[in-house]
């Protein structure tokens, strides 16, 4: 009975989204305030019904209600409680409900934290968000209903994909969706400014905190995904350039450009056209990602089983969103012409370079992701574009970006002189060269690592110098400034972690007999054997490996090989983590006579990759709570 209530709640949400588009619009255009002001109550009611539907589906999973087809297809009585709850978004229908739920959370948040925003702007923004939720609710109800009942319910449900039976499923998709869907907010602000024809200081001011928060969530989501892939897939990798990973990375690159572009538009009134295009681009790319995952054009661990109707629906929606936004942009382009001038050497130029590099990087990833699909669609053959292409194209584009990050915070707004900047950087360059030289002498001669070390030292140096200068000037340390230096430091930490683990990591794929020892990076791995192991929803084998360093025991590792009900074998790596290195062991196949194939990895500084990601996300959150966004206005 509850299931039908959940289904009906979604229908009510759909009708409310229609009302949200129509009623406040009438109010805005006929100057009937009472109707325009109905936008917020409509958003709250919609949020309530969508939340109810979401939690009803979750309760169906928790109570093993296999009369619901989606539950029967993705859960069973043996599944642990946490995985039952997270199985709600383990497949297409539920994940789309999560998408709609997250969109409603964002919309409600915008409606609540909007007291400092002019009513017309906020009501128009809520109307745009209502139109987006209308599209997704239509898609959900007509092609992907999660509340479909089975005439004859099975006694037991199916197995949730074993790859998804992990804590990662509980946290990675919700965080990623918070970021993905959150990009709808800057998009809605931009569109409402274009519709109203008021591209003033207000919309720029209020777009930035929302862009920062959604960018922060997207960063956390991608970071968690990378961490999950690292320990779950058993290959020890942290980024695979999988097309679906790229689908979330492209909006991230554009959102990164957007938050920087917004800072110039907000502070100096420049780059408005660029900012508008980036906001439209960010959300369009998040829709493109949705299309790629759900249309069936991709084969990936992330891609859901799909049918062409769904793909076609999203494609039409994508065209409406991009086409409609660009038409609006063209219509209002005359209002975006005004831009305050700046010289070639200025901080504005630095941020422009940052934007160009990020967008170029995004286009290179887009090309590598879509090119095989386009060839395949046109029957021109099948090709695979993988890590070699992306590493060769993406990394050289981003290196100047990191250098710009270390230089331009020193450069003044509007205009600066080369000699002043050179004088300021002299000390830093001496530091960088000296410390990099010492690294070459004492640590490694790997050129890539030395470049990363040099960049790391440079960025850390500039952060420290900026911090000290700010303290000396006795100016207040704003959250925005703290956020910036934290995020820049996060980039440096990430770059160093990624380079060191890729260049200096060691991997061994070997056969080990009981009692045998393998030495890797000064660590002795002793194989003590394998024993049978089972839990409620799987059975398999668990290995026992002791690690010694200089005869002192440093870790006891227990990698697993699991067989779930579907018969799908799963490798569960065992990791001894630390801030300087990870010891990573994955069990392969039994080779008879007690011998097993074992993969052993030594991963120096691998944790820095995710630490860097979290620092970037935290930096964005700090910047989003800067006091300028708590502006008090007297009427």
């Amino acid at each position: 009975m509850l299931i039908e209530v959940g289904h009906f709640a979604l229908v009510l949400s759909l009708i409310i989204s229609v009302l949200l588009i129509v009623v406040p619009s009438i109010g805005l255009y006929q100057n009937k305030t009472s109707l325009a002001q109905l936008a917020r109550p409509l958003v709250w009611a919609q949020g309530f019904w969508i939340a109810l539907a979401f939690f009803i589906l979750m309760s169906a999973f928790l109570s093993n209600d296999f009369s619901v087809k989606y539950v029967a297809d993705n859960s069973n009585t043996q599944l642990p409680l946490l995985f039952k709850a997270s199985a709600v978004w383990g497949s297409h229908e539920g994940s789309l409900l999560l998408w709609v739920f997250v969109l409603s959370l964002w919309t409600v948040a915008v409606s609540i934290f909007s007291k400092r925003i002019p009513s017309d702007l906020i009501n128009q923004t809520l109307v745009v968000l209502g139109a987006i939720s209308f599209g997704f609710l239509l898609f959900l109800l007509f092609t992907s209903n999660p509340f479909e009942r089975l005439m004859m319910p099975p006694l037991e449900g199916r197995e949730l994909n074993p790859l998804l039976q992990d804590f990662g499923l509980a946290v990675h998709p919700p965080m990623l969706y918070m970021g993905y869907v959150g990009l709808a907010i800057p998009f809605a602000f931009v569109l409402s400014a274009l519709i109203r024809g008021q591209l003033d200081s207000t919309w720029i001011r209020w777009t930035r905190p929302w862009a920062l928060v959604s960018w922060s969530f997207l960063t956390v989501g991608i970071t968690l995904g990378s961490w999950w892939a690292y320990y779950e897939l058993g290959w020890g990798g942290w980024w695979f350039w999988d097309p679906v990973e790229n689908a979330s990375f492209m909006p991230w690159l554009v959102a990164t450009a957007l938050v920087h572009s917004l800072s110039v538009s907000e502070k100096r009134g420049a780059f408005k056209q660029w900012t508008v295009l980036l906001a439209i681009g960010g959300f369009s790319l998040s829709l493109l990602g949705t299309f790629l995952v759900r249309s069936g054009v991709l084969t990936s661990v992330h891609a859901f089983a799909t049918d062409p109707t769904r793909g076609l629906f999203i494609l039409i929606f994508l065209f409406i969103v991009i086409g409609g936004s660009l038409i609006l942009y063209t219509w209002r382009s005359s209002l975006l012409q005004q831009s305050n001038p700046f010289s070639l050497l200025s901080r504005e130029t630095g941020l422009l370079i940052n934007n160009i590099l990020l967008v170029t990087a995004m286009l290179s990833v887009l090309l590598g992701t879509l090119y095989p699909l386009i060839l395949d669609t046109l029957n021109l053959g099948k090709i695979s574009v993988g890590a070699p292409y992306f590493n060769a194209v993406f990394v050289p584009i981003m290196i100047p970006g990191v250098i710009a990050l270390a230089v331009f915070p020193y450069v003044r707004w509007k205009k600066d002189s080369l000699s002043r900047v050179f004088n300021l950087l002299k000390f830093e360059w001496i530091c960088v060269v000296l410390l990099t030289f010492l690294s070459w002498v004492f640590i490694t001669d790997n050129i890539f690592v030395l470049v990363a070390v040099g960049l790391f030292i440079w960025v850390v140096n500039h952060v420290l110098v900026l911090f000290i200068k700010r303290l000396r000037s006795k100016a207040k340390l704003s959250m925005s400034f703290i956020g910036m230096i934290l995020a820049h430091l996060g980039i440096a930490v990430f770059v160093l972690g990624a380079t060191v683990t890729t260049q200096l990591g060691i991997e061994k794929d070997i056969k080990m007999n009981i009692g045998e020892t393998q030495t890797i990076a000064g660590h002795d791995f002793v194989f003590n054997g394998v024993s049978p192991h089972s839990k409620e929803n799987y059975s398999g084998f668990i290995g026992d490996i002791t690690v010694f360093k200089n005869t002192k025991k440093v870790a006891q590792l227990s990698p697993e090989k699991r067989y779930y009900q579907t018969g799908m074998p799963m490798t569960e790596a065992s990791i001894d983590p630390s801030i300087t290195r990870d010891l990573y062991v994955a069990l392969g196949e039994g080779l008879g006579g007690g011998a097993w194939s074992v993969r052993i990895y030594y991963k120096p500084l691998v944790r820095w990759i995710w630490l860097g990601g979290l620092m970037i996300a935290l930096g964005a959150l700090f910047a989003a709570i800067d006091r300028r966004y708590f502006l008090r206005v007297k009427s």
Partner: protein, 269 residues
């Protein structure tokens, strides 16, 4: 019927909520001009702070300040339009009407049609409603084998395993030679024993096998019993036979192939 009332309550609650805000609208926030003035004043303050920290050159200060003033000048739009008051009642009635008709209309198109009842063919029934109806039917017809079997299935569908076993037990007393019943009964018992097909559950499947050794379903379940008992070769034999008897496009073929694959895998290990 109960569902229809729930839906009406949901519609009524929503409409009452909207009506409340039509009669008592939320007060307006600041105007666009007030917001732009405040933001540009703040920009001027930041500009002073920037020059104190050396983030902008002294000779650029005047230019930057005049840019702020010019920006504000272009943004100010004195609002001469007066808000038009509305009559909330007609709007409330219109919303109630549109909301009610559209939501029920769309739901009637989307709702899954469950077990059709004699009274209302178009009204969807939930599983709990179906159980209630079956129970009242069985009270009047306690010897109806099909109804008891249906009740057992429906009970397990909503997780009432003990009630399901009870219903199957009664059906079994009426007809112990029905293959479907034997398998469903065995599955319900297994569900109550953490998925273990042993004890009475195994006995029932053995009975079904003796009644029809060529039945695909019976062979599938016999394979499960064998696998649970550690007899992997026996399980493989049953499932290979079931696959042999099945057509290539049989909808259950994948399930048996998957099970066979699992056991073959385990045997290799």
């Amino acid at each position: 019927m109960i569902l229809a009332w729930q839906f009406i309550i949901m519609i009524a609650l929503s409409c009452a909520f909207f009506a409340w805000f039509l009669f008592r609208p939320i007060s307006q926030n600041i105007s666009g001009d007030e917001s732009n003035i405040a933001i540009n004043q703040q920009r001027q303050d930041e500009l002073i702070s920037d020059i104190n920290q050396g983030l902008i050159a002294d000779d650029q200060y005047q230019t930057a300040e005049s840019e702020i003033v010019n920006t504000l000048a272009t943004e100010l739009r004195p609002d001469t339009k007066k808000s038009i008051a509305i009559k909330p009642l007609p709007w409330t009635l219109a919303i109630i009407l549109i909301f009610g008709i559209l939501s029920l209309g769309i739901y009637s198109q989307l709702a899954p049609k469950m077990i059709p009842s004699g009274n209302s063919l178009s009204e969807p029934l939930s599983m709990s409603d179906s159980i209630e109806r079956l129970q009242s039917f069985i009270e009047k017809n306690p010897g109806d084998f099909q109804a008891l079997k249906m009740l057992g299935l429906a009970q397990i569908g909503i997780g009432n395993i003990n009630e399901s076993i009870e219903a199957f037990e009664r059906a079994y007393l009426i007809n112990s030679k029905d293959i479907d019943l034997l398998l469903q009964f065995a599955s319900a018992i297994a569900a109550s024993q953490d998925g273990q097909f042993d004890g009475k559950s195994k006995v029932l499947i053995d009975e079904a096998l003796s009644l029809d050794p060529q039945s695909i379903q019976v062979l599938y379940f016999s394979g499960i019993v064998a696998a649970h008992g550690g007899n992997l070769n026996g399980a493989i034999e049953f499932w290979e036979k079931a696959l042999y008897l099945m057509s290539n496009d049989h909808p259950d073929r994948n399930i048996i192939e998957e099970a066979l694959g699992t056991v073959l895998n385990l045997q290799v290990k």
